[in-house]
Each structure stands twice: as structure tokens, then as C-alpha cells.
């Protein structure tokens, strides 16, 4: 139906073509499996490719279309899934030795929703172990490369998902975002990534890192595709008590291209110290594009910004220390093969062997933050400051419709550069953790390139107002072409296409 390679097609294009019978889901799936076979040896985005199941599923979709049924808004769209989201019968490892052999007997709610919408799960993607990291280097199994420069990190923790979308291995992917884990890799890989409002998408089936911060969200190549995915993922789920009853919006319908009168705030704190001035400049230029299109731009201030990172690390590690306590080698997961003398010994050895160093570091920090005599000083205090940070955003978002900031303070950094320096690594999250602490929706879209590497623009919105974020992102993408650029890799290894 098109002269473009099938791996170049977006979510909406693919789904509409499959629904109309102009494209077969099986061809689409095969093209992506071929692409994975061609490039993933270099990108290492996938931990597990569900080729046979995906093809079988694709044939079902094609059969449904032949019967005249509508397989749904994601008909035949291959989706890569971060490997901390449970998939029934398919290994779900959280990139940890601890869960190397874990096969969930159930699907996450988002997987059920994707399947019901006609999507095809094509594989499970790499991440920092238990989503703890900003580079995907903390995976127990492999380091994912950035498709724009294979010597650089894809960002993290959803690096596999972002890289897969950037490399044309899948038009869409799921990630989880606890402190920037969707947006940061979206920025580093030059794709669109959305962290929805806390409670917008069910967390049921997402292996918890920090429960009060975690959100599942989509990756795609543009805002329209992201809107289509969000419409499928969003909504109340009775299996998640923190999921919101709030009605969803017509996210695609909101993409009018019109940003006239939209008030955009630029928080001064996100453009100062620690942020590469060229990145700040690229973001300002992107905002200028929206301004030219009729948006109003105002400088605003979020005075508690400097506390976001420490507060984030206290809250996230405290919750993680408890969430990861279930991995004790008793019921599932890694169990030590050494002789043990007691259940305490069994648990200690299994955990000692099963967890990597970054996970251990965070468990220790979190355990300390919650311990008797330190709770008030650390976790309790962090919760109080979290409230202030939330108030900060609430106040500013009463004046503006959304905030525009850099997604990351830099472009993708070289593999190995920060792997042994946790503090340097944590700095990658300085622009993203605020939205998690405040529970706000935020997305990242590419807004330019520095030395051939994508720069991310982050938009942060009001609670449950993903529609406005997507409208602004879409308007920007109608006026620019950064999102249309593909890494050179695409040309080098165009095995999946028919160009």
C-alpha cells in the first residue's frame, strides 16, 4: 500500500491500513521481526522476542479483518513491552537475575488492553534492573545502545523500549516512568514518550519500583501515535486502587494543531545550573515555534525544584526497599544453590546473588530512610517536602496551561561514562522527577539535535490533562521535522523495509 518500508509506518497509519484490509498484520509483524533480526544484535533493545506468538496473533487479526470485524484501534500494531510489565506465559525479568526465570501466570492490565485493541506484543525490552537507573546500563543481561550513536546510552530505565522505537524495531512501546524512565530515554533516542498522570493508567502487572511514583506510559514516533496509544491504555481499573475514576478524553480529537492562546510557562529553575546551555537553547527555540503559532509564553518559578532530586531518592528508595522485599527465593525467583542453615540465610544469600549493585544500593538507602529513629528525619521529611513541590506545581499550573522544560540536562552520554558514579547518573533525572513527585502528566518530544544526538523537550501539564500536552506536542510536530528524522542505522540496516 505504500512505498515506505513497513517499519517506517506509525501506529495510526498501520492500524488504519490493517483495519481497512490494505495491509496485513502478518506482513507488518514479519517486517518488524526481520528488522529486529537485522539490527538488534547491535542495539540490544530486546531481552525476549515473541516472534511465533506475534505472528500467530497477527494472523488472527488478519482473519478478523477478513471476517469483517474491527480488531480495534491498534489493529496489527507491533508493540514492544518493557520487561517489568507482566505478560502471561512470557518471561518477565525486570532485567534482574532475581527474576531471570519468572514467567507470570497473568497479563498486566495494559497488556490486556493492548490485546483487546488489536495490538501485537512483539517482545520484551531491556531496562535498568527493576527500572533503577537512567542509562539501561544496570541491566543484569545486556547494555542497550543508542541507535543514534551506538557508543552512547539510550537513557533509562526504559532504554530498550525507546531504542526499539527509534531503531524501527517497533512503531510503539510501553515503558514505566518513576522518575523520568520514559521521558529520559525518549529524549536520548529522539522519540515521543509520555508519562501519564499518576492514576491515569493501571499499574496492575507493572513490577513495582516505587508505587507512589510509578506510571506506565507509551512510546511512539509522534504525538498522534502517542494519543492513539494513550486512549487504549488509560482508564480506571478496579485491580489498582490508585487508578483514577476520572473520565478519559478524546486524545486524538484534541489534536487540532491550534495552540493560539495556550499559556506555556518556562520555569527558570529548569534552565539554569546543571543544564547544558545548548540544550536549554534548543528548548527555548522549540517554545518559540509554539509562540509563533500563537501560544503565550511566560517565565515562571518553581522554587522547590532543587529539592526534587533528594526528595525523589528518599521516597523512591524507601518504597523500593519494601516493594523488593518479596524477592526472597522462597516462592519464585532466584534461590541460592548453596547450602543454607536457616530461612534467614536462604533469604540473605538468594537476595545477595539475585540483585545487582544499584538495586542493593537503593534497598540499603531506602531501608535506612524508613528505619526507627530516622523515619521522621528522612522519609517523613521527604513526604512533607513532596507536598511543597506539589503545591509549587499546582500554583504555577493555575497560571499557565503547561510547562516547557528540557527533558534531560544533556544529550545521551557515552556508555560507561557514569556507570560507576551514581551521583552523576542521578543528575540525568533533575528535570523529570518533579512530575512524578507531583503526579503530573509529562511528555518528551525531540526538539532538535546536538552533534547528531536528539534533544528532548519536556511538557508538563495539569493532572489528567494529557490532551493539552498532546495538542501542543502535535502542533509543534506539524511545524517541525525533528520527529521525522531517523538514525543513520535505519539506512545502514534497512533489512525490514521494502525501500
Amino acid at each position: 500500500m505504500t512505498d515506505r518500508p513497513l517499519t517506517e509506518l506509525g501506529v495510526v497509519e498501520t492500524a488504519e491500513a490493517v483495519r481497512r484490509g490494505r495491509l496485513r498484520a502478518e506482513e507488518v509483524t514479519r517486517a518488524h521481526l526481520d528488522r529486529i533480526a537485522a539490527v538488534d544484535g547491535r542495539i540490544r533493545a530486546f531481552l525476549h522476542v515473541t516472534g511465533e506468538a506475534a505472528l500467530a496473533r497477527a494472523r488472527e487479526i488478519d482473519e478478523a479483518v477478513r471476517r469483517g470485524a474491527d480488531p480495534g484501534p491498534l489493529a496489527g500494531v507491533p508493540v514492544a513491552v518493557k520487561d517489568n510489565i507482566c505478560t502471561r506465559g512470557v518471561p518477565t525479568t525486570a532485567a534482574s537475575r532475581m527474576l531471570q526465570d519468572f514467567v507470570p501466570p497473568y497479563d498486566a492490565t495494559v497488556i490486556e488492553r493492548l490485546n483487546a485493541a488489536g495490538a501485537i506484543i512483539i517482545g520484551k525490552t531491556n531496562l535498568d534492573e527493576f527500572a533503577m537507573g537512567s542509562s539501561t546500563e544496570h541491566s543484569a543481561f545486556q547494555v542497550t545502545a543508542n541507535p543514534w550513536d551506538e557508543s552512547r546510552v539510550p537513557g533509562g530505565s526504559s532504554g530498550g523500549s525507546a531504542a526499539a522505537v527509534a531503531a524501527g524495531e517497533a512503531p510503539a512501546a510501553l515503558g514505566t516512568d518513576t522518575g523520568g524512565s520514559i521521558r529520559l530515554p525518549a529524549a536520548f533516542c529522539g522519540v515521543t514518550g509520555l508519562k501519564p498522570t499518576y492514576g491515569r493508567v493501571s499499574r496492575y502487572g507493572a513490577i513495582a519500583f516505587a508505587s507512589s511514583l510509578d506510571q506506565i506510559g507509551p512510546f511512539a514516533r509522534d504525538a498522534r501515535d502517542t494519543a492513539r496509544l494513550l486512549a487504549v491504555l488509560a482508564g480506571y481499573d478496579q485491580r489498582d486502587s490508585t487508578s483514577a475514576q476520572e473520565p478519559t478524553a478524546d486524545y486524538e480529537g484534541a489534536l487540532t494543531g491550534d495552540v493560539r492562546g495556550l499559556k506555556i510557562g518556562l520555569p527558570a529553575e529548569y534552565f539554569g545550573e546543571g543544564v547544558d546551555s545548548r540544550v536549554a537553547q534548543a528548548v527555548r527555540e522549540a517554545v518559540a515555534v509554539l509562540k509563533d503559532a500563537g501560544a503565550q509564553v511566560v517565565e515562571v518559578s518553581l522554587p522547590y525544584t532543587s529539592y526534587t532530586l533528594p526528595v525523589y531518592h528518599l521516597v523512591a528508595t524507601a518504597e523500593a526497599s519494601s516493594n523488593l522485599a518479596r524477592y526472597d527465593g522462597v516462592r519464585y525467583g532466584h534461590r541460592t544453590s548453596r547450602r543454607v542453615t536457616s530461612h534467614g540465610d536462604l533469604i540473605a544469600r538468594s537476595r545477595g546473588e539475585g540483585f545487582g549493585p544499584e538495586v542493593k544500593l537503593r534497598i540499603i538507602l531506602g531501608t535506612f530512610a524508613l528505619s526507627a529513629g530516622y523515619y521522621d528525619q528522612y522519609y517523613g521529611k521527604a513526604q512533607q517536602v513532596r507536598r511543597l513541590i506539589k503545591d509549587d506545581f499546582e500554583r504555577v499550573l493555575a497560571q499557565v496551561d503547561l510547562l516547557a522544560t528540557p527533558t534531560a540536562p544533556t544529550v545521551a552520554f557515552p556508555i560507561g561514562e557514569r556507570a560507576d558514579d551514581p551521583m552523576a547518573m542521578y543528575m540525568a533525572d533533575i528535570c523529570t522527577t518533579g512530575a512524578n513527585l507531583a503526579g503530573l502528566p509529562a511528555l518528551s518530544i525531540p526538539c532538535g539535535f546536538l552533534d547528531g544526538l536528539p534533544v528532548g523537550l519536556q511538557l508538563i501539564g495539569r493532572p489528567f490533562d494529557e490532551a493539552t500536552l498532546l495538542r501542543a506536542a502535535d502542533a509543534y510536530q506539524r511545524l517541525t521535522d525533528h520527529h521525522l528524522r531517523r538514525p543513520a542505522l535505519a539506512a545502514a540496516g534497512a533489512a525490514g523495509g521494502g525501500a
Binding site: T92, L99, Y106, S322, A325, L370, S371
Partner: protein, 490 residues
């Protein structure tokens, strides 16, 4: 001055026992507290589990509203104040039977607080204060005797809703502890929140015990006793532990704050672990569960739906109906039996007679059949009618017992049995007098004996009259007539 010692009571000790109880009660919800698994007792191991109550990665708890309602119900019945919100916290520790590495519980905001329960003589009760009532999930059950050299775990119990009820250290004897538990159990049964069976583990007790010299108001060092599986072992363990503590102190020793295990077989407590070595549970609010508001009108609705509670019922039985404390306790202790008794009252039976019938004839039948009151074939109205026949003097007590037997056996109406068997009591003075005179004439020797001052002879004569009438004579009337005749015909 010496201390009086009476049979059946212990010699007064030189020390006072101070006890606080922590009671865990399993709620009788259909499904578990955070998932929809069933809660049936005694199922095949690990047959009532799902990803949520096994704590598999990615699963999330969803609160069973029914468990929350039952917790509020129990807390209200224990005279507690109710929090405006139900908030849940994580209690972090590792144990193989704990699937998530933490237990979901309530830490700083227990659903109920500042309650009390009355024990002892209803005319002069003692109030045991209840510090807190909180809702939590049960853990699985480790089994160490199933496979050699290995422990296995049954997770059927994992996630069953539990209520933890913590008393203040207001209990002053082992007997009072038993009394408190008995009353607490009754509250659980009356409110329908638990079947509170210690032998099935649906009621579990930990005792905090200390001693102090009589007259002292300072608390001593507390030890906590675990593994108590009957009211009897609670009493024995407290007695033993208090005596042990006092002996240590009397010998100039010091006590350690520790957890002790009740060895059921040897009837001793054994040190388990030092309290100082106790876990730091690192409680924090569970981010997976949002606080649930408990609106005042909803709480009041539950309060209004509470039945008459055992304490009030016991007070009414003793103070208003003039039953003995013992009878009141027996009735109140069996809600089914008490319900039957209430129905008898409603049908017009006199309270003491009704209690006596229920606790002798009815109970004897139930015990003989091994049945519960639900299986008792005589409807309360019918038994009340039988009691009325006795009360009105229509039949004698002896006859009534025969009628009762037949009613139970055949389901007959009492009046019909009385008529069919000619049991109507002879209360006609003239008719009886005739028989009395005949008996007196036929028995000159007993008459002479009686007149010579041997009172027992009267009993023989009464017996003869009863025999003549085949038991139908009104015994009181016979007595009166005989005395009258024997004194006048001197």
C-alpha cells in the same frame, strides 16, 4: 491477723499479676481482604490462592469493603471510637510465610481506639480498656512436620482478614484474662464478624504478663507469651509465668523483656527472643492503598444495626430477669441458646422457669444428640405453652417432663399430649381429700410415725397419694391436705 483461706480460691499472693492481651481474630468474610480468593477453613493446602495473595510481582491489593465494615462493626461493639479514615501501613519483615516481605496492617491510625469491655459480676463489673482495634492481613502458615528436613508453607491463610484487638494492661488475674477472652469471643459471635474458634486458629492470643508487689502502682518488666491455643492454656501460662517472674524477683534477680513460648506439654514458658533484638518493622503508609474515608453516617448505620451485645444481655439477665450469674453466662455464651430463650420470653414464658428449662431439659437433649439449637424440634411457642401448663398448675412438673419427651419425639402439641395421656393435674380439693383419707386409713403405721415426730413419714404418704393418682395430683396440694388432716385428727 491471718488471711482467711476458703476452699476453691488460691492463697492470696504477695504479688499482683498485670496482664494485657493481644487477640487476633479472623473475620468471616467470603473472600480475602485484598483479593477475591475464598476463605474457607480446611481446604487443600495452596488451593485458595491467586497472584495477589501470593504476592507475585506486579500485583496490587484492593481492599475488601466487607472486611472494613466488619472491623468497624467489631470496634463499635467493643465501645471504640472510630477513625475518620481507614489508612493502611506496611509492616516490613522477612519470613517464609509472608509473601510480600511486608504485612499490610494499620500502624498509627487503627480503625478503632479507646474502647472497653466489661468483665466480672454484672452488678459490679470491671472495665478492661481496649487500646486499639486494627485490621490487617493474615500470613501463610509454615508447616515443619510435612517433609523431613524441610519446611513447607500453605498460603491459603495468606490475606485472610484479621482483626487485632489490644487491651490495656488492666487485667489482674489469669481468671480475669479468661473472663475477658470469653466476653471478647462472645462479642465476635454476636456481631457475626468471626466464628472465633481457638482450635481452628480463628482466635489467637498473645499475653503480656508482668508482676508487682501488692499495693505497687509501678509496672514490672513485661514478657510476652505466644503459642496459646486454648483458654485453659492462657490461664495456665499466665499463672506459671507470673509465679516464675516473682520467683526470679524474690531471689534478687532481674527480668528481661522477652518473648516466651508456652510449652503446652511441659506446661512451662520458654524464652524465644529478646525484645531488644526485635525487628524494626519500618512501618510506612502503603502507597498501593489510598486512605478510605469512614463517613460518620455510615458508622452510625453500622452502630444502629448492632444486635443486643453480650454484656448488655448478661446485665439484663442478672439484674432484670434475676437469673444467676452462672445461668446468665451459660445462656449468653451460646447465642443460639440465648436466642431460643429470648423467644420463650417473647412467647410469654416466665424468665427463671424458661432459663431452667433451656439449661436443663433442652440442653440435655442437645448434648445427647450432639446437636445445635437449630436442630431442636420444639418451637419456642410450643415449649412456652408447656411451661404455662406447669405454671397454671394444669400439670405437674413430673408430668411436664414426660410431655416434653413426647413433644421432642413426635412434635406434638403439649395440650394434646396432656389430654391424650390424661395428665391433667388433680387440683380439685374435694376429690383429693377423698384419696388422702383413703391413704391415711390404709397406712396407720406411717401416720403414727409422723405424729410421733418423724417428718420423713410425710414423704411416704405423699408418695402413696401420687401413686393412687398416677402422678396427677398437685403435690403442693397433697402436702397441704395431708398436714391439715394429720394435725387436725390428733
Amino acid at each position: 491477723m491471718s488471711t482467711p483461706v476458703t476452699a476453691g480460691t488460691a492463697v492470696e499472693r504477695p504479688y499482683e499479676i498485670v496482664v494485657g492481651l493481644e487477640v487476633h481474630v479472623e473475620l468471616t468474610t467470603e473472600s480475602k481482604i485484598f483479593c477475591s480468593c475464598p476463605t474457607r477453613f480446611g481446604a487443600e493446602p495452596n488451593s485458595q490462592v491467586c497472584p495477589v495473595c501470593l504476592g507475585l510481582p506486579g500485583t496490587l491489593p484492593v481492599l475488601n469493603r466487607r472486611a472494613l465494615e466488619q472491623a468497624v462493626r467489631a470496634a463499635l461493639a467493643l465501645n471504640c471510637r472510630i477513625q475518620p479514615v481507614a489508612k493502611f501501613d506496611r509492616k516490613n519483615y522477612h519470613y517464609p510465610d509472608l509473601v510480600k516481605g511486608y504485612q499490610i496492617s494499620q500502624y498509627d491510625l487503627p480503625v478503632g481506639y479507646e474502647g472497653w469491655l466489661e468483665v466480672g459480676d454484672p452488678a459490679n463489673p470491671r472495665r478492661i480498656r481496649i487500646r486499639r482495634v486494627h485490621l490487617e492481613e493474615d500470613t501463610g502458615k509454615s508447616l515443619h512436620d510435612q517433609a523431613p528436613g524441610a519446611s513447607v508453607v500453605d498460603y491459603n491463610r495468606s490475606g485472610i482478614p484479621l482483626l487485632e484487638i489490644v487491651s490495656e494492661p488492666d487485667i489482674r488475674s489469669a481468671e480475669e484474662a479468661r473472663d475477658y477472652l470469653m466476653h471478647l469471643r462472645q462479642v465476635m459471635l454476636y456481631t457475626g464478624v468471626s466464628d472465633a474458634r481457638m482450635e481452628e486458629g480463628s482466635l489467637r492470643v498473645d499475653c503480656n504478663v508482668s508482676v508487682r508487689p501488692r499495693g505497687s502502682d509501678v509496672f514490672g518488666t513485661i514478657t510476652e507469651i505466644k503459642n496459646l491455643n486454648s483458654f485453659r492454656s492462657v490461664v495456665r501460662a499466665i499463672e506459671y509465668e507470673a509465679q516464675r517472674q516473682w520467683e526470679v524477683l524474690s531471689a534478687g534477680g532481674t527480668l528481661r523483656r522477652e518473648t516466651r513460648h508456652w510449652d503446652e506439654r511441659r506446661e512451662v514458658t520458654v524464652a524465644l527472643r529478646r525484645k531488644e533484638e526485635a525487628h524494626d518493622y519500618r512501618y510506612f503508609p502503603d502507597p498501593d492503598l489510598l486512605p478510605v474515608p469512614l463517613p460518620a453516617d455510615w458508622v452510625e448505620e453500622i452502630r444502629a444495626s448492632l444486635p443486643e451485645l453480650p454484656g448488655a444481655r448478661r446485665r439484663r439477665y442478672v439484674l432484670d430477669l434475676d437469673l444467676s450469674v452462672r445461668d446468665a453466662d451459660t445462656l449468653v455464651g451460646d447465642p443460639g441458646l440465648a436466642g431460643y430463650f429470648e423467644d420463650l420470653l417473647a412467647a410469654g414464658a416466665e424468665a427463671r422457669a424458661a432459663a431452667s428449662w433451656v439449661l436443663t431439659q433442652v440442653l440435655a437433649w442437645l448434648n445427647a444428640q450432639g446437636a445445635g439449637i437449630d436442630a431442636f424440634p420444639v418451637p419456642p411457642a410450643r415449649l412456652a405453652r408447656l411451661l404455662r401448663l406447669v405454671d397454671e398448675g394444669t400439670i405437674s412438673m413430673t408430668a411436664a417432663k414426660d410431655v416434653f419427651e413426647e413433644m421432642v419425639r413426635t412434635g406434638a402439641e403439649p395440650d394434646a399430649v396432656v389430654e391424650a395421656r390424661g395428665l391433667r393435674q388433680i387440683s380439685d380439693q374435694a376429690a383429693l381429700l377423698e384419696i388422702v383419707d383413703r391413704v391415711l386409713a390404709a397406712n396407720p403405721q406411717p401416720v403414727a410415725d409422723y405424729r410421733a415426730g418423724r417428718q420423713q413419714a410425710l414423704g411416704f404418704l405423699v408418695g402413696q397419694v401420687m401413686k393412687e393418682t398416677r402422678g396427677r395430683a398437685n403435690p403442693q396440694l397433697v402436702n397441704d391436705l395431708l398436714r391439715q388432716r394429720l394435725s387436725s385428727d390428733g
